[in-house]
């Protein structure tokens, strides 16, 4: 039964991985990668690691892939166009190196196969959340704290990299960006006047409309 599940999910994982590499559209690649993540989560469940399986689905298939798909759609990535293969002379060398790599892998797997059997049978509590939490907050407390500092650095680094130009200046009003304001938004007394003005800030729009010094002019906050 477990072997059947392993074959099913391993096949799904390998198929999705190959499809991810073969796709030319990055969005289809991302969807295939989500398939790989879900299959691996199912494999973690068969390995009696339910906490890691849940974290895999939440963090990888949830958070990271949402970020990747968001960036793909934000940048409007097109399909890669086919380009002529350069360095054609290196193809036989690549095939030879791949054969060497495959032989090494088969060698290692053969010796793992003939190694003494690992103890199995009794139900363990290794993969449960409580044992992971105990390990994380006792023996491995220092790596856990270093991880939190790493996340803080990632937040600062991502903000620094992704912002364009300087911070918003001090004289900019409430709403950045060029937009149109209805007159009644700025001056509550002029409800019937639907004239719109275009301005960069609500303060500028108030000056254009001449309502900035009116006694009924409202302040933000």
């Amino acid at each position: 039964m477990l072997a059947l599940l392993f074959i099913l999910f391993a096949g799904m994982a390998v198929g999705c991985a190959l499809s991810m590499v073969a796709q030319r559209n990055p969005l289809y690649s991302a969807i295939s990668l989500i398939g790989v993540f879900i299959s691996l989560a199912c494999l973690y469940v068969t390995l009696a690691a339910p906490f890691i399986a849940a974290v895999q689905v939440i963090v990888y298939a949830g958070a990271i892939m949402v970020l990747v798909v968001f960036v793909i759609m934000l940048l409007n990535v097109e399909e890669e166009e086919r380009q002529p293969v350069r360095l054609r002379t290196l193809v036989p060398i690549a095939v030879a190196l791949a054969a060497v790599f495959f032989a090494e892998t088969a060698f290692i797997i053969f010796f793992v196969q003939t190694s003494p059997a690992t103890p199995t049978g009794s139900v363990s509590d290794v993969g449960l959340t409580s044992s992971i939490g105990t390990g994380l907050f006792t023996t491995y407390l220092l790596p856990f704290e270093i991880t939190s500092i790493l996340l803080l650095m990632a937040v600062v680094g991502a903000m620094t990299l992704a912002r364009r130009g300087g911070l918003i200046g001090a004289n900019v009003g409430v709403v950045p960006g060029y937009q149109s304001f209805a007159r009644e938004v700025l001056d509550p007394m002029a409800t019937t006047d639907l004239t719109q003005v275009e301005a960069r800030t609500s303060r500028e729009a108030e000056e254009l409309l001449g309502v900035s010094d009116s006694p009924h002019g409202h302040d933000e906050g």
Binding site: L2, A3, F6, A10, V14, A17, M20, V21, P26, S29, L33, V36, F37, L40, L43, Y44, L47, A49, I52, V55, Q56, V59, Y60, I64, L67, V68, V71, I72, L75, V77, E80, Q83, F101, T105, I109, V112, Q113, T118, P119, T120, S124, V126, G127, I132, L136, Y140, P143, F144, T147, L150, L151, A154, V155, G157, A158, M159, T160, L161, A162, R164
Partner: protein
């Protein structure tokens, strides 16, 4: 028939190799990024398999930390990708051959 440890290691090797090949043949930065994520996941599978077969929780703690590093890498890496696209109007790695942004 119960899955052996070597099955999981073989699956992990196949996934890792697929990721390596993807990094080498892809020209799009985002596709290369996703192939790196695939390699990280292959290593995670190895960790969890050893942890489960040797009854030791350490491997799963490593997986937890690897996932945190992957999340941080995703945030910073995608920020770099957006920055490159803004400056070069392209996601092709051959266009970004100098270290200047």
């Amino acid at each position: 028939m119960v899955p052996q440890l070597s099955w999981y290691l073989a699956l992990s090797a196949v996934l890792f190799t697929t990721g390596v090949v993807g990094v080498m043949i892809k020209r799009n930065v985002i596709s290369m990024f996703m192939c790196i994520e695939l390699m990280l996941n292959a290593v995670n599978l190895t960790f969890v398999a050893f942890s489960s077969f040797f009854r030791d929780v350490t491997g799963q703690l490593f997986v937890f930390i690897v996932m945190t590093v992957a999340a941080a890498e995703a945030a910073v890496g995608l920020g770099i990708i957006i920055s490159i696209f803004r400056n070069r109007e392209s996601l092709d790695v051959d266009d970004a051959s100098t270290l200047k942004l």
